[in-house]
């Protein structure tokens, strides 16, 4: 028997190995005195280190494991975005957990594992590898959401998330089976070769695309797969909710972009109809439901669903400008959404219970800088110039019009106007209402988190004025398309 060793190329997964090793080391840390800062320190160091490693692979298209994993510029950019999000989440978590005095080792280890899962999802070129990454991510998040076992809401959130998540994973797996049935292989690149030889079953491929979209639609929380999001965000620790509301979306959009790019020439209009339906439904249902919310986190959850609707528009013309527009939107979404959740974390430090929008009333008088930052994030999420959110929306609408989807843009603009109401209500409550005593005394050391929020707010405005640099990087990353 001749044995041929597979072409592993360990360099291609060095960042993930680093994350795994440091995560595993964290598992064995106990929350003794004196280690309070060491654990998040190690976690952030690991994320920063892998974040530094990833760009060194830029432009090399390093492939590993017989090309099951390929680190092209596309995946490097997405992975950097995931890393940045995770770093912010670690910083937020430190402040969130310090108040609650829990054992932290496992918490940060799970965040690192989640990053590994997302990296694998993004860099995977084979649906099975992508599924593997998705499961690493999901399993970590299921535990993180229910990390505080003694809080009922948290348990409810994690059970909902777990059951629905497991179900959507199963659908994704079924999609892989159909994909295999259509093409006889599970590699995404196989679609292109199959189209050239015209040797595939179109019905099976469409079924596959639909099922894969279902699985990923759950991860990005787009309508009709969004039902878990509000309850889960609200029940989860807010630091986890911040990660949950941004990072998996980045990874899932990377996979969606790859799949849509590969599949859409074969399935003609069907994929775009699916995406249009998801996008329009997300925009309408997300925005309109957000109007009625009283809880801050719940409002942010529905706003996230609406934002996903806007992002999905970018998938309609992926091979033209849609891809870069989507990536730009995602990177700006990190800034504003993480910022909004960061402010929520600072406020939640005092109030242990559910944070209502009305709890913020009159906070501007006591916390002028936090309120200013929150206002900037809200304005940006609403899409008003001169913030980054405006340019992101503008860019994505422009691509849709160029691709001939004018009516969708009309819907999107109307929905943007609707969204002004609930985003501005937060600002109005903070500045115009009578001061309530509830949040007037934010205690604890918030220096680092305040600096981070300041940077985020500054960046939100900066990239709104000068988006050119980011777009330049993105178009370089997508040059291969």
């Amino acid at each position: 028997m001749n044995f041929i060793a597979p072409n592993v190329n360990i360099i291609s997964v060095m960042p993930e190995i680093l994350l795994l090793l440091s995560g595993t080391a964290l598992l064995f840390f106990r929350n003794c005195a004196g280690q309070g800062k060491a654990i998040p320190g190690i976690a952030s160091a690991a994320i920063i280190l892998q974040g530094l490693m990833i760009p060194t692979l830029w432009g090399n298209n390093i492939a590993g494991f017989n090309s099951l994993i390929v680190r092209d510029n596309f995946s490097i950019l997405f992975q950097t975005m995931v890393g940045a999000t995770a770093l912010l989440a670690v910083a937020f978590s430190h402040y969130y957990l310090k108040q609650r005095k829990v054992s932290e080792g496992e918490y940060y280890a799970l965040i690192l594992y989640a990053v590994v899962g997302m990296n694998v999802m993004i860099a995977g070129r084979d649906l099975l590898v992508i599924f593997l990454g998705m499961e690493i991510l999901s399993l970590s998040l299921y535990v993180l959401v229910g990390f505080f076992r003694d809080i009922n809401e948290s348990m409810e959130a994690t059970v909902k998330y777990f059951l629905l998540g497991a179900f959507s994973s199963a659908l994704f797996l079924l999609g892989i089976a159909f994909f295999f049935g259509a093409l006889g292989a599970t590699g995404i690149d196989n679609v292109t070769t199959a189209i050239e030889q015209s040797g595939f079953n179109i019905m099976l491929l469409m079924m596959a695309a639909a099922l894969l979209c279902t699985g990923l639609g759950f991860k990005i929380a787009s309508v009709p797969f969004h039902m878990w999001a509000p309850d889960t965000y609200e029940g989860a620790p807010i630091s986890v909710a911040s990660l949950l509301s941004v990072a998996p979306k980045i990874a899932a959009f990377a996979v969606l972009l790859r799949i849509v790019l590969a599949v859409s020439p074969a399935t003609s209009q069907v994929t775009s109809y699916t995406i249009i339906a998801m996008a329009v439904a997300s925009m309408i249902i997300g925005n309109i439901t957000a109007l009625r919310q009283t809880g801050l986190i719940r409002m942010l959850a529905y706003s996230g669903i609406a934002q996903v609707g806007f992002m999905l528009i970018g998938l309609l013309s992926p091979e033209q400008e849609g891809g870069p527009a989507l990536m730009f939107y995602l990177s700006m979404y990190i800034l504003m959404n993480m910022g909004a959740f960061g402010v929520a974390i600072v406020f939640s430090m005092v109030e242990g219970k559910r944070l209502l929008i009305n709890d913020l009333s009159g906070i501007a008088a006591h916390r002028p800088f936090l309120s200013l930052a929150m206002s900037i994030f809200m304005i940006s999420l609403a899409g008003i110039p001169p913030t980054a959110g405006f340019f992101a929306k503008f860019y994505i609408f422009k691509t849709a019009i160029e691709a001939g989807y004018l009516w969708i843009v009309v819907v999107a603009v109307i929905m943007t106007v609707v969204s002004l109401y609930y985003y501005f209500r937060v600002i109005m409550v903070m500045y115009m209402s009578e001061a309530s005593d509830k949040l007037s005394t934010v205690s604890g050391d918030v220096t680092v988190i305040a600096v981070l929020l300041g940077v985020l707010a500054f960046a939100t405005i900066l990239f709104g004025i000068m988006p050119g640099s980011i777009i330049g990087i993105i178009s370089k990353a997508l040059a291969f398309m």
Binding site: N2, F3, A5, T24, L27, F28
Partner: protein, 118 residues
């Protein structure tokens, strides 16, 4: 005869015997004379509660650990019969694989998953 066919015949034989024994005892054996005889045994007293038992979470943890290790053993078997051909590469791969597993094992140990008294 093909190996699978012999196996099939043997399976039929065994299952048939098992069912035959049950049926035989069903027809040959007596019926219970009184209803009291069919009450579950509890040292001569009437049973205190029904079968809605709670059981220790430890059994669940053992079952979970078992699933992890049992699945891994399937991989180890395939590796074991071909380790000569794979040489050093196979050895390293398995060391990494088992190493990852042992980390999980040690973690479960430290967390008290393997201890029965609490």
């Amino acid at each position: 005869m093909a190996p699978s066919l012999s196996l099939f015949v043997y399976t039929l034989l065994v299952v048939g015997t098992a069912v035959a024994i049950i049926l035989l005892s069903h027809f040959l054996g007596k019926r219970p004379l009184t209803d009291e005889k069919t009450i579950p045994y509890e040292c001569g007293m009437d049973p205190l509660d029904t079968r809605k038992h709670r059981f220790s979470i430890k059994y669940y943890i053992v079952a979970l650990l078992f699933v992890i290790f049992d699945v891994e053993i399937v991989f180890i078997y395939l590796w074991a019969i071909s380790v000569r051909d794979m040489g050093l590469f196979g050895l390293l791969e398995m060391f990494i694989f088992v190493g990852i597993l042992l980390v999980a094992f040690v973690y479960a140990w430290i967390k008290g998953g393997l201890t029965w008294e609490s």
